[in-house]
Symmetry: C2
Subunit: 400 residues, 2 copies
């Protein structure tokens, strides 16, 4: 009894809630871990046990980077100023070791399993598990001849998928950002709950969402050795191009055929969309503009601009993408939705790039939606809002 | 370009493989992270950057606990003696802060997202993603009146589930251990690949596997405050009993009805099995013996004994579980399989408990399978082997 009992008690008793005053344990914590915790004015308190450390810092990736304060009990604490709503990535740095906080659920970001704290948005429930029918998130494996490997992807099926076995559905391909992986859109983004809620209120059509892993390397191609290479070096540019190109082929030659043969999709361009955030936005523009025979809905979340930039911030809509947008009327007929968005608190360079893209599209009379998320940074609350605005616009112009 | 490009390059270039001599990056690492790495004699090298730390230790939960050695470049390293095959949980302790290693995939164990390193078992492929049809692992949400909450579970559907929409399947309920959660059996245990391979070689019948979260608290019941309570105290015993009882009701009153109404199951006791590891084994014995009207196949992986012990190591097969086993012949007719197993390198107390259970069942002529996993500890390689032995024995005596 002793061994199992102890393991079990760790699970049920280590971390019973210790709400104090206005502070509540974050919903992003593991089990009942008491820290991080958030108060009514959206301040976050972080606590970490490090009795022998000399210096402990907290590193919010889009927020405070600060020294934590040592307490008499061997714990270090730090309380942030009020933070924007949403999920904020962070790490802690213990005497130079940048690691994650054991109290937090692990979220894959920054190429590692990092920590994050959920700051509630008062009155907002669109990304919560509400009392509505829930779709499923499925892990799937497909073999890709492009990469020569079995590849993992996640897939959302809408609530009625299993109970209405004759129904066929449109598909949204939805990509994560750089340093993240295919788990981001459901773990961090709550894409499944967003769609559950939109579908329950008939604001969005029931759809399948496919979330692929955005990293790809062609079969036989070695990992790039980029040690010592500077940003913008020919080696780094080539590494990015190789990855983008391998991903494009993997997606169009392996993933889409697998999805269309395995799930009850409507396998035509009128019923196929692609969107992505940051790096995934860049990939979305590459893949969709190269394959307008496959896609008719396009979304770039905090990332669309960059694909156009190619070294500068100007977009020549006449020549970009082999002239796909040269005739705005023809483009508008062919592409049912071109959607771009950015958070108003994103880094200036990012925001300007997307605002300039918006302006260039306006000047060229290219129909598009431009959405600005108020008060949010290059973080998941922006992309949750993006999806919540984008998804209802999908598959409305389809022929059936 | 710069921001997205940088994030992307972190992902593709931070961690290009650095195989050196016989060492290879562990398959459990994130992306191409070079450490931890494993050599041909199953030694594991751990490396962590902690330039300002005074003391860094590595803590294998069932293996070496040792000081790491500081290198000139600010990294700390440690190489283990040869280790048993399988996935080994560990944490690192940086000046007293016990945290996970950023190079490792995060696995939920010990009530946190911990690190683990996969040591290959030469010639063994039964838990690998082989070139066979793959089933899906699905995230599902069900509402439980017992707990008053939406609950998350994972579910494996066999490869043909979607393509043969009239087929119905038996169900194995498969539980994680204490401090773990419902993600353990697929992330750590590779249960999906084990079943894919068994089904492809016709060694096991196609089946659905349901992996639930083993922690439950009744609606309105506050978290137990166990601060300062010693092991075995009345408060702790009651906390365990409350959780076991809430889980039993959640499973039988909410989960099983949800599964049987949502998936194409064969909803009778001849086609329903339950097994679990450690704490999950204890839960399996509680739930199945209380509900033999629901289950006919029972598996206890490194955990079966403890439910019988109740304060001592003797099992009275005549009286245990209200006499369910009192008549060995009747019991053998009613329960198609009683399966217990343990690793030969598990802690003595654990091993002895299960060996004594085996002996008691033998003495009482109660038909059962007793499996010992050679050279493995209270860790996932034991439970992978258990499942690989257990699953082929399921649903063979069913009436259809």
């Amino acid at each position: 009894m002793r061994l199992i009992g102890l393991a079990m008690l760790i699970a049920i008793s280590c971390c019973f809630a210790q709400d104090s005053g206005d502070f509540k344990s974050a919903s992003s914590n593991v089990l009942d871990a008491p820290y991080p915790r958030v108060d009514g004015s959206s301040r976050v308190e972080i606590r970490l046990k490090a009795p022998d450390a000399t210096k402990v810092r907290v590193n919010f990736w889009s927020g405070p980077k600060a020294d934590m304060e040592k307490q008499a009990d061997g714990f270090w604490t730090f309380t942030t100023p009020p933070m924007a709503p949403g999920l904020h990535y962070y790490t802690v740095i213990v005497d130079g070791a940048e690691v994650s906080d054991p109290g937090s659920t692990a979220y894959f970001g920054g190429s590692k399993w990092a920590s994050a704290v959920e700051v509630p948005e008062p009155g907002t429930t669109y990304y919560m598990p509400e009392n509505v029918p829930h779709g499923q998130v499925r892990e799937i494996w497909y073999y890709s001849k492009v990469t020569g490997t079995w590849r993992h992807a996640l897939l959302y099926t809408p609530p009625a998928y299993d109970t209405q076995p004759k129904e066929r559905y449109p598909v949204l391909y939805l990509q994560h950002g750089g340093g993240e992986d295919e788990s981001g859109w459901t773990r961090q983004g709550k894409a499944n709950f967003i769609l559950d809620n939109l579908i329950a209120s008939a604001k969005a059509k029931p759809m399948i969402i496919v979330m692929a892993n955005g990293y790809a390397r062609r079969a036989g191609q070695p990992a790039p050795n980029l040690a010592g290479k500077t940003f913008g070096s020919p080696e780094m540019r080539k590494a990015i191009q190789d990855m983008m190109s391998a991903f494009e082929d993997d997606m169009t030659q392996a993933l889409i055929p697998f999805i269309d043969s395995t799930f009850r999709t409507i396998p035509d361009r009128d019923h196929r969309a692609m969107a992505g955030l940051s790096m995934g936005g860049m990939q979305t523009f590459h893949v969709t503009f190269d394959h307008l025979e496959l896609f008719s809905y396009i979304g770039g979340f905090s990332g669309a601009a960059n694909v156009f930039a190619a070294g500068n911030d100007k977009l020549d809509t006449k020549t970009a993408f082999n002239g796909a947008m040269a005739d705005p009327y023809a483009f508008g007929k062919r592409v049912h939705l071109l959607w771009i968005g950015v958070g108003t608190d994103e880094p200036e360079r990012m925001k300007e790039g997307i605002q300039q893209l918006h302006a260039a599209l306006e000047r060229a009379n290219i129909q598009h939606v431009f959405y600005e998320s108020p008060g949010t940074n290059h973080e998941w609350q922006t992309w949750r809002r993006d999806l919540n605005d984008f998804a209802p616009r999908l598959f409305q112009q389809a022929s059936n």
